[in-house]
């Protein structure tokens, strides 16, 4: 990490600091963030858990936020039953604030809607999660969501659309989500691009689940294949809270997602299923840490990654069981599929256990398409290209089948599978 780069980062911050909205993040907190980041330096691929990320874009990056775009991008069809909020380059562009007893959703920027939501405490910065600091320093807006116990489970869709090219500055999508005791939320979060914009995005998402709270979270990263997309999720789960995260990432030129989940209360549970599909020059990297801090906590991690063309796909799933976390149960199933002679795939399970009385099982494999399966399909007359697509599709099923919202699952199936979509219609016919 060059000092020149950090100096430039500081300068850029200094130049825009007065223009950054206080209502989103206070000036002092921003300054702390930039100092903390500069003290650590920006991540480099010399660090073990950043090895597979494509970080070159950071060296050339313009960190200051791009100007909010005027006008509206093309939006995908709405999801029935979901309340939609659209953010262009991280700034709210569409969606009325919700403010009633059970649910509050608002833009962080709009100070007119009453007092700003309290800023979540900073989690001691994990080196893997330090790009969240960059977001904290520069964020221009974001969504604040608060859910209280209510009869109906709220369904919210957040669309983040990257518009500006990286030369015009970065965008900083931000979500602060807290779910109170016993409450529940279904959240769909999609990241898209306006056309084939080559943007730089650095998102941060904070999730706090109180006792018995439950979050069903679907994340789709479908930005243009010219975009550099960085992202940090930090979630804290209290007793018996349950977090289900399903992430599907076919987009971006260079993507790195860091997910840090703290199972802080007894009985808390996280199920993370991620699928990444890289082709051509794409580089898709994910780092997940499940930190077990309390007894009887559970983690399930499933990863399915496919690297075609010259793509590089990596998943690094770490499970850390602290001394206080007796009775932890963790399961990992990480699988990579190498679908091109020049592609690269890395799946890496890591276990760090400081207590007895735990059950941890993990499996990690990386391999090519099964020749026997392929020949079986060809022997039935299928085009080689179709046969391969079908097998890739089947490989992802472990993740896609977990999407419990039929409309969303169908949409993802269509988007991932293209022509394979008739598969979905046949399935329905059979029911």
């Amino acid at each position: 990490m060059s000092n020149a780069l950090l100096a430039r980062l500081r300068d850029e911050y200094g130049a825009v600091r007065d223009a950054l909205p206080d209502s989103v993040i206070g000036g002092e907190r921003r300054l702390e963030a930039i100092e903390a980041l500069c003290a650590q330096g920006l991540p480099t691929t010399r660090e073990e858990n950043w090895r597979y990320a494509n970080l070159r874009v950071l060296e050339r990056a313009r960190f200051s936020p791009c100007a909010s775009p005027a006008g509206m991008a093309d939006l995908p069809a709405p999801l029935a039953g979901f309340t939609r909020f659209v953010f262009l380059d991280g700034v709210l562009a569409m969606g009325e604030p919700v403010q009633h007893a059970g649910l509050g959703v608002r833009s962080l920027r709009s100070g007119a809607q009453g007092p700003a939501p309290s800023m979540p405490q900073r989690i001691p910065a994990l080196p893997e999660a330090r790009l969240a600091l960059l977001n904290e320093a520069f964020a221009t807006d974001g969504a604040a969501i608060r859910v209280k116990r209510e009869a109906a489970v709220p369904q919210i869709e957040l669309l983040f659309i990257a518009c500006a090219p990286a030369q015009a500055g970065a965008s900083y999508p931000r979500v602060q989500l807290s779910i109170e005791a016993g409450a529940r939320l279904t959240l769909v979060e999609r990241h898209l691009s306006a056309g084939d914009a080559a943007s730089l995005v650095n998102g941060a998402l904070r999730v706090d689940l109180a006792e018995g709270a439950r979050l069903d979270h679907y994340r789709l990263q479908q930005t243009s294949t010219r975009t550099a997309w960085f992202d940090t999720v930090e979630a804290t789960l209290a007793q018996d809270a349950r977090y289900s995260l399903i992430a599907v990432s076919p987009g971006a030129l260079a993507a790195r997602s860091t997910v840090h989940i703290r199972l802080a209360g007894p009985g808390a549970e996280v199920a993370l299923s991620a699928a990444a599909l890289g082709d051509r020059q794409q580089s898709l990297d994910t780092y997940v840490l499940s930190e077990h801090l309390a007894p009887r906590t559970r983690t399930e991690q499933i990863f399915r990654g496919i690297a075609s063309g010259r793509a590089r796909v990596a998943f690094n799933g770490k499970i850390a069981v602290r001394e206080s976390a007796r009775g932890t149960d963790s399961r990992q199933s990480l699988r990579g599929l190498l679908a091109g002679p020049e592609a690269e795939i890395d799946v890496r399970p890591q276990l760090e256990i400081y207590t007895d009385e735990v059950r941890c099982s993990h499996g990690a494999t990386a391999g090519k398409l099964d020749e026997n399966m392929l020949f079986y399909l060809l022997s039935r007359g299928l085009e080689p290209e179709v046969a391969q697509r079908l097998l890739k599709w089947a490989f992802l099923e472990d993740v896609v089948s977990r999407i419990e919202l039929p409309a969303l699952r169908r949409r993802i199936e269509h988007e991932l599978a293209g022509q394979m979509s008739e598969l979905a219609s046949l399935k329905e016919l059979l029911r």
Binding site: D370, N372, Y376, G381, L382, V386, L390, L423, L426
Partner: protein, 249 residues
């Protein structure tokens, strides 16, 4: 229909088929028997176009065309079907989807439009009843978690739906219980037709009680060493292969 002439095949540097000659005319059912490791599955795979086999000599003509020059998927679309000795499990690929994709691939090849989904399912259900298969198997992954016998029935189901000109069934009778054997034989028999040929690879003469062959061949050490009518199978049942292995050496 099928004409194999002096076929030599090598796998990983080892010659497995050593000058195999066999002709199956249209409308006939031929059985191939022979000891373990004699090259029966190798022959079946080579006919279907599986990679990994080196053809070092000989020719194979299928309906007047040079079969060996066609890629596997084209052989299938031209009406060749291989019933696998060990059908592959493909979790995540729907059974019915594969069937439909296979039917449509063949139709496209013949310049026909795709099948109507409803008519297709009606046809598949009818064939499933014939094979005494549970309908729930349709929505499962291809052979996923199927028992040995269920896999074999699924192979025959695919054959019935695809209606090939030439079917090579590699030990489709192995692993079937007595009733299932009759079901499978019955299914196969419904396909017998003047323009269609069948090659049955089997170890058991019992199958040939139900599907009566026109010819029986014995494959030993990569060559057909004996051919005869259906009584040859009975003779093999009585005498084993030893008397023929001597001749092959």
């Amino acid at each position: 229909m099928l004409k194999i002439d002096n076929l030599h095949v090598t796998v990983e540097g080892k010659e497995i088929l050593k000058g195999l000659t066999l002709e199956v005319p249209a409308g006939e059912v031929h059985a191939i028997m022979g000891p373990n490791g004699s090259g029966k599955s190798t022959l079946a795979h080579v006919l279907a176009g599986r990679p990994g086999y080196e053809i070092t000599g000989g020719t194979v003509t299928f309906q007047g065309r040079d079969l060996l020059s066609l890629p596997p998927e084209e052989r299938a679309r031209e009406g060749m079907f291989l019933g696998f000795q060990y059908p592959v499990e493909i979790p995540g690929v729907n059974n019915v989807y594969l069937l439909k994709a296979a039917v449509n691939a063949a139709r496209k090849h013949r310049g026909l439009p795709e099948v109507d989904a409803f008519e297709f399912l009606t046809l598949v259900r009818e064939k499933m009843r014939l094979m005494r298969m549970e309908e729930s198997m349709l929505s499962r992954g291809v052979n996923e978690g199927f028992s040995g016998g269920e896999k074999k029935r699924n192979e025959v189901l695919q054959m019935l739906v695809l209606e090939p000109c030439l079917a090579v069934l590699d030990e489709t009778d192995s692993g079937l219980d007595i009733d299932a054997l009759k079901v499978v034989a019955n299914g196969v028999n419904t396909l017998r037709a003047p323009q269609r040929s069948l090659v049955l690879v089997t170890h058991y003469q019992r199958l040939l009680d139900y599907i009566v062959p026109d010819r029986v061949h014995v494959l030993v050490k990569g060559r057909i060493v004996q051919s005869g009518d259906k009584t040859l199978a009975l003779e093999l049942e009585r005498r084993g292969y030893d008397w023929l292995i001597g001749e092959a050496a």
